[in-house]
């Protein structure tokens, strides 16, 4: 399969983030080798599956959502999507699901970027964020006739008509249980115990508590490093934007409790801190600051750099973790209400904390769970903060859904709008 052209990839500004692609390749190579040569068990998991427990049991974890996005970033999804659709999976179903179902139908072919995912022994799925994934993973487990564990996250809406609360919890986008439903938290705990039992049965091993504690400690350290880096990114000019941020998320998201991850973020923090201290921004003169919310168009990450030609920077993405070490309670920009739910509140929070002038909402029509909040994000940002948001429509992995002319026209108009608004930041 052909690798995609340079112009569609995001242009990175930091040195450390360029190491991430090597980490991804190494991750896939090592896992494939451990699965095939050492016979270690392979799990296909959703993004919210607990990593630490799998690491403690030497499970080789692959993440179909991540791999679908990787395939898309190499422009390699089309043939698989066509397979799935020919078999009756409707084109309005999740792009990740169609790409991976089609990849399975092709018999996990070897001629794919980074060698692909090893054949799974079992599946782990959670119900966090999206209902659709439960069906997708059930479908895949059935295709391999493999065992599957569903870990339920009983998410609840805000408890009052005021909507989401404003504090740090806004950055934790899930609300499990509620004050009047403690049983839901109990159920989550029970589910976790069930997962541990399932994994122990599948691997024939017992979790070593010391090893697990070590992984958790390191995972916490990695989390702390990532939050510190985010905190630095709040500065004007920002020392690191989302073009680097998306690339940098892999080690922390998929290898949180490891030495590789620890070393990567330590090095990244140093580089970001250096840039911060020396006021090195992403563009020579930072004129406006944006957030990207929603899943990016993985086959066209270069779009994020486009704003840089006009003095704009996409400072942060709000989907994969915008939490820093503080929240900004002193800014005069404080909304009265934070939106219908935590997902909306997390974007409002990011706008306040990162001193943003606007938000790009990537409207990926096959990802129901994320896009159904987007108009409310737009409404809330306008109503509460007078901050404009732009909806850009395209699938996250299916390039056939992308309309270049329309997208660029919208972006150009938006750039004019935010550039003008950013000249009058009375909230700074």
């Amino acid at each position: 399969m052909e690798e995609k052209t340079e112009k569609m990839k995001a242009r990175k500004h930091l040195k450390t983030t360029q190491d991430a692609s090597q980490i991804i390749k190494q991750y896939y190579a090592e896992q494939q080798e451990k699965a095939s040569k050492e016979g270690l068990p392979v799990a296909w998991c959703c993004i919210a599956a607990p990593r630490d427990i799998m690491q403690a049991l030497d499970i080789q974890a692959f993440y179909p959502e991540q791999y679908a996005s990787y395939l898309a970033s190499r422009d390699c999804t089309t043939r698989f999507i066509q397979n799935a659709e020919a078999a009756g999976y409707a084109n309005e179903l999740c792009g990740y699901a169609r790409a991976i179902i089609g990849y399975i139908m092709d018999g996990l072919p070897p001629d794919v970027p980074v060698g692909g995912m090893s054949r799974p022994d079992f599946f782990i799925i959670t119900s966090a964020v999206c209902d659709n994934r439960v069906k997708w993973f059930e479908e895949m487990a059935d295709m391999f006739n493999a065992p599957i564990y569903l870990f339920e996250f009983p998410e609840m809406p805000p408890e009052t008509r005021q909507g989401a609360s404003s504090g740090e919890e806004a950055l934790i986008m899930l609300q499990i249980g509620s004050k009047d439903a403690p049983h839901l938290l109990g159920y989550t705990g029970q589910q976790y115990q069930g997962l541990v039992r399932f994994l122990e049965e599948q691997t024939g091993k017992k979790v070593d508590p010391n090893k697990l504690a070590e992984i958790r400690d390191r995972s916490r350290d990695v989390g702390k490093l990532r939050r510190e880096i985010n905190e630095y990114r709040k500065a004007i000019p920002t020392p690191m934007g989302a073009a680097d941020g998306y690339t940098a998320m892999f080690p922390g998201t998929y290898l949180p409790g490891t030495k590789i991850s620890d070393e990567f973020y330590t090095k990244l923090r140093e580089e970001v801190k250096y840039r911060l201290d020396n006021k090195i921004g992403i563009v020579p003169e930072e004129k406006f600051r944006l957030a990207w919310s929603g899943i990016p168009f993985w086959y066209n990450m270069g779009l994020i750099n486009y704003f840089e030609d006009y003095g704009g920077v996409v400072v942060i993405d709000t989907q994969y973790g915008a939490a820093g070490t503080t929240i900004n309670t002193s800014s005069p920009r404080q909304p009265k209400r934070w939106g219908i739910n935590r997902m909306v509140a997390s974007v409002v929070r990011a706008v306040v904390d990162y001193n943003l002038d606007g938000v790009i909402l990537s409207y990926t029509p096959t990802c129901r769970a994320l896009y159904i909040d987007q108009l409310e994000m737009k409404n809330t940002l306008e109503e509460e903060l007078d901050v404009p948001a732009l909806l850009l429509e395209s699938d996250m992995v299916d390039p056939s859904s992308y309309n270049e002319a329309e997208t660029m026209m919208k972006i150009d108009a938006f750039i004019e709008q935010v550039t003008e608004k950013a000249k009058h930041r009375d909230w700074l």
Partner: protein
């Protein structure tokens, strides 16, 4: 014979308003996973939230155009004030979109006064699901008690279970009259009967059903012999689609609908554990919505049993655009059925009516050649 049922369906909001004016309290609910008996036992009338065929205008501000058209149309009615007669709203976690209905309704609308969200497990057959859902039924009960200021006794719950079970039994008897060839009751009539039951007090629905069942045997003006069809859909809240199919020359004899057979097929146990426990069991073990984990086998079994018992010759599958759960079931359902299946992409407004008509005609023609 059927006019009262049809009137309730076509005048649903006026009728609800009428009950309201008589001093009754009305509670709207989404999804047939909502344990309605608890609302009934609180002395209120549960009515299913349904949508509109009208142009969407106000809801465009909150939900994009290609979001589930059913959800959009329900929100449109709420924003227009059609549901102002509601005293309460209960939303059960069926899918992401229906959860969103709760969040938007809660944040953007001032009415109704009472709002409650019921969390419903995906893993309906999994460990702990029964206990956690039982707690959710209890939470709904206490929330309603706080709202009304009155305790819901076990006796009241037992009474509501009895009323609802009677309704289920009577509806099954009505469905028996669809097994004959030709059926005694058309699909359009049958759907008006079941749908009206979601929009009016159960006691009155039971009364109408008993009246109908006492006279149906002697009916002379029933449907003619025609191709026998099953309808399966993600959400159907009006009779027009079935009416169209029957106008084109098919007899819809059975269904897989959450506003049809799935709504009433399974009853609540009448003795044994506490009424709350038995209610939790019923809703978790009923014929499942495809949104539930491991729902494929029981749902397909229900569909196959219906096809066999009602001698269906073809299935029309009407899936609203973007209804993921149904769309995931579709490829396998298509492969597993040994009778022809017509898949129609659904839209709440039935905007592609001409195309639907043509495809139904072609399907009926093909069945005629069997």
């Amino acid at each position: 014979m059927f006019s009262k049922f049809e009137e309730v369906v076509s005048q649903r909001h006026d009728i609800a308003q009428g009950y309201k004016e008589q001093g009754r309290k009305i509670v709207g609910y989404f999804c047939d996973y909502t344990p309605e008996e608890v609302i009934h036992a609180a002395g209120m009338i549960p009515v299913r939230i349904t949508g509109t065929k009208d142009q969407i205008d106000k809801a465009d501000r909150y939900l994009q155009t290609n979001v589930c058209s059913f959800a959009r149309s329900c929100l449109e009615l709420a924003l227009k004030g059609t549901y102002d007669y509601l005293d309460g709203l209960v939303v059960t976690h069926s899918c992401d979109l229906i959860t969103k209905m709760y969040e938007i309704w809660q944040y953007r609308l001032e009415k109704p006064e009472f709002l409650h969200y019921v969390w419903f497990p995906h893993n309906i057959y999994g460990e702990g699901a029964m206990q956690v859902f039982e707690e959710e039924v209890k939470r709904l009960k206490s929330s309603l008690e706080n709202f009304t200021g009155h305790e819901i006794s076990d006796e009241a719950l037992e009474h509501s279970i009895e009323v609802y079970n009677t309704n289920r039994k009577l509806l099954k008897e009505v469905y028996e009259w669809r097994k004959t060839d030709p059926p005694k009751i058309s699909g359009t009539e049958a759907f008006a009967i079941t749908l009206s039951g979601l929009l009016m007090p159960k006691e009155e629905h039971n009364f109408l059903l008993e009246e109908l069942l006492s006279t149906i045997e002697g009916r002379k003006d029933g449907p003619q012999r025609n191709a026998r069809l099953m309808i399966a859909a993600s959400m159907l809240d009006d009779i027009d689609l079935i009416e169209l199919i029957e106008e084109r020359g098919g007899n819809v004899v059975c269904d897989d609908l959450c506003t049809g057979s799935r709504y009433f097929w399974d009853g609540v146990e009448v003795s044994g554990s506490s009424p709350v426990t038995r209610l939790a069991q019923r809703y978790l073990r009923k014929v499942p919505c495809p949104r539930s984990y491991q729902s494929e086998k029981p749902r397909f079994a229900h569909i196959k049993a219906m096809i066999e018992d009602y001698h269906a010759q073809g299935v029309i599958l009407y899936i609203l655009r973007c209804c993921d759960a149904h769309l995931y079931h579709y490829p396998k359902l298509r492969n597993e059925l040994d009778i022809p299946l017509l898949h129609l992409q659904g839209e709440q407004t039935l905007s592609g009516l001409a195309q639907i008509r043509n495809r139904v005609d072609a399907f009926l023609e093909m069945l005629g050649g069997i």
